[in-house]
Symmetry: C2
Amino acid sequence: MIDFNSPRRTEQSQEPERLPNTSYSVLGMLSFGDELSGYQLKKRADNLRFFYWSPAHSQIYAELRRLEKLGYVTHREVRQTRRPDKRVYRITAAGQDAFETWMNHAPVEPVSLKHSVVLRLFFGHAGDPDRLSQVLQDYAEQVSEVIEDLRGISDEISDQDQFFYPAIVAEWGIGYYEAERNAALTAIRRLDERPDLFRSDEEAQSDTA
Amino acid sequence: MIDFNSPRRTEQSQEPERLPNTSYSVLGMLSFGDELSGYQLKKRADNLRFFYWSPAHSQIYAELRRLEKLGYVTHREVRQTRRPDKRVYRITAAGQDAFETWMNHAPVEPVSLKHSVVLRLFFGHAGDPDRLSQVLQDYAEQVSEVIEDLRGISDEISDQDQFFYPAIVAEWGIGYYEAERNAALTAIRRLDERPDLFRSDEEAQSDTA
DNA sequence: ATATGCATGTAATGGGTTACATGATTGT
DNA sequence: ACAATCATGTAACCCATTACATGCATAT
């Protein structure tokens, strides 16, 4: 008996095919029009690391297969003599359309943030205060390096029209990481300022000393 | 023949059992010492949303089962007449140890950030500039609301010793979200300021002026 | 009556990582 | 010689979400 009421729909419907943002980040890197291999895409994706995490290379290849199945990209083989052969991908017209649709119509999603350093700060009662200070100090230093990198990138691209949008992003990033550094340093000061009043009571009895 | 060199190790070794941070966030919420049900834990986890995403409730229950199997938490059933019965969890001494070990010895991991708004800004060339401005505007407004919430929380807890660490986190959050708002508003200004030179192909006549 | 909150859980699926696998070229 | 870079991919696993499922109590 044929079940006409089956909720299973044949996957060739015309619906816009909500893809995960990772797919769009790959598609976006191809939206500039050049041909890129999976390997090159991985490296480009690493450039987004300041505001968007970089997927594993296996994930990039998986995305490319999916995008090709959807008709959003095509590939061709490139023979090389002094390097292993490669497969370079190019965005299609359908891919451009899909990407523009996402750009213009995707909802404004909340940022996904997993800040394990702040998580540890939140649970500060359960750790060693000096170690916590050290963690914040390390974090502030890591952030300082990122700021250096971003300033370098910003200086390189800020007067080039072709990098208009990335330059705005770099500026955003500098502001963001400066706020992070300030927040970390402020937190360290708060820890130092703390009156040591309520520290010893709790752990006095069961701590194996 | 017995393979003494086998890299497979029997999973009951004494190693610290690297757990995902989500496990520690659940364990951390129990580290204050009170008994909590999965339902209550989910609500508490939502309070971390400003700096750490909140897992689905099914994930919370899964974590509790895992933590119990590891001996880090125990549960007891609580009979209720006017509410469904519940299962409340409490951290064990082993759980406290594991949590403190994580607090004091976990490496300073990079923040995991997936900022889809900035991603779209980065790929601004492929979208409608007015829509992009609107997206940034919406984002700035969402952020403003978060700042309001955080200020409220901060005012409530900032003078209470028991919330010493969360108060520092709230302050951090306010600084972070203010930086986000500023960055969004600055980006909007940059978009407005933009000389419209390279906006479309039919702009070739502008040099005849 | 209907929706919302309390409370717990399973099933199906998807997203993503790590480790494994291969192999050539270039630089030290 | 050794490591690093280029290049592509599979397999196993795990983290996590969404949807499904149940059922009582309270408020509207």
